[in-house]
Amino acid sequence: MKKKVLHIVAFLTMYFAACVISYSQDFKVIVNIDSQIESITIGNISDYFLKKKLYWNNDMKIVPVDQIVNSKVRESFTKIIHEKSVAQIRAFWQQSVFSGKAVPPVEKASDQEVIDFVMQHKGAIGYVSSDANTSDVREIKIVKE
């Protein structure tokens, strides 16, 4: 009986460890190369992507760019930054659109498309996989609040 309990505890420990590992940060947040931003809090990133904050400190308009809904990187980003599922965020946008408040950010199909968009828009903020080449944009550090 004791052995069984130990097995169950070990299994649960490994399961939760696996969950934590799978949601560890595997993305990079990027902004335009001309941006002066060095670091940013998780809360601010969430507000920028949900369009709750619309301007950078220098009064430039924030232009968030998302990845398409079924991408792995979006799932990871959404879990860590918004602490919600992709479905919940889509539901949030559906409600925002129906109430006439705002439309969701532009969606791009790949890391490269996101990088291209961020290069072309001064106020843009996006995220890409941690192994993407981000030499043409500025990667910013995410700090805890």
Binding site: D47, L50, K52, L54, V69, E83, K84, S85, V86, A87, Q88, R90, A91, Q94, Q95, V97, F98, S99, G100, V103, P104, V106
Partner: protein, 386 residues
Amino acid sequence: MTNIRSVLLVKSFFFREFLSFVLFLIMATMHSHTQEKEVFVTGYLSLNAEYINNNKVFNDLFDNNGIDITEASVLTTLKLNQKISIFSVLTYKPNIDWHSVIAELSGTYKFSDQLSLKAGRFLLPINPINAQYYAPMNVGIALPSFITNHKLFPLNMNGLNLLGNIQIADDIGFNYDLIAGQYNKIEQSEDGVLGFFGREGIFLTDSVDLAQKKIENSDSLDQYEHPRFWGTGARLSFDIGSRFNIGIGTFYGAESKSVVTKNGNTYFSDIDNFSVGTDLLYDIYDLSLKASLWFGNELPDDTTHFQSKKYYILTSEAAYTLWQELTPYAKLEIISGMAKENRTRTIFGVNYRPFYEFTIKLEHIRYFQDQIDDFDVFQASCVFSF
């Protein structure tokens, strides 16, 4: 003669709305050649089942159960450039007239974040609960009493809306909406599979004859000629952080014609509607709390045959999301003083959205009315979103 007038009215309305659509399409096409535009389309379809338990009067007059598509909507937002956008929502419901299918169709010109001008048809922004007209906006199934059961303000209006947001501190935003225009309907609206919601006032006693009479002698001209009335309103609200919002609103609608039959004689009167109210919204992580309290006053010209009525509606709602998918919720609604009706209803339900495209809702409503036994309504709903 009345029939010809009605046909002409219908035709003129059809023509006007058709013209608006053509204009919308032309503008969209013109701009598609000149500028990069953003288009966003979304929508949903809702299939509902209803069962009304233990209302003797209702059971004598109608079926007490049914299943039907109760709602289908397509929303299109077209952002032509940084300043101009066009917004439309087409909504089908079984009990609405075809005019109301165009729930919203408006163009907005944004001068700045602080000032925008919207023109067209729009849901009245004076109370955020109005937005629950659309199924994905409502955690539950039954529409709030603010939409189906009152004369406080209409659901939507054709006219102008001046709106904006002013950031007055780091975490405090001030929003305003000023509206003016014409509306078609301020009366109770039937809703649901059985058309029961919005008509609860008919079933106030255990008398089948009285209920039948109320159905036959509706106290409104709204359903006969699709009239239009002038109205104006406003809402001022504050966002505190991104989790708390408090607002006040008011509405004044002039000359909504009403008719009453007494001792075989029919009397007409203009009735002005004035209302004022407040609302609160608090969102913290997975908990959402909403409350709204509005006071209404009907002021008839003919005070001999019509009564001035004062009433209030209170609604409150609490919802908590578990495991990012399952949202149990509870609501309490009180209507008091409206045509000597006092009604309270409690709503308990659960909303399960395992993925974006599919939502299932189960709901129980308990009605407490003055002169009849308490009774229950059970509902189930499947909402498919795209």
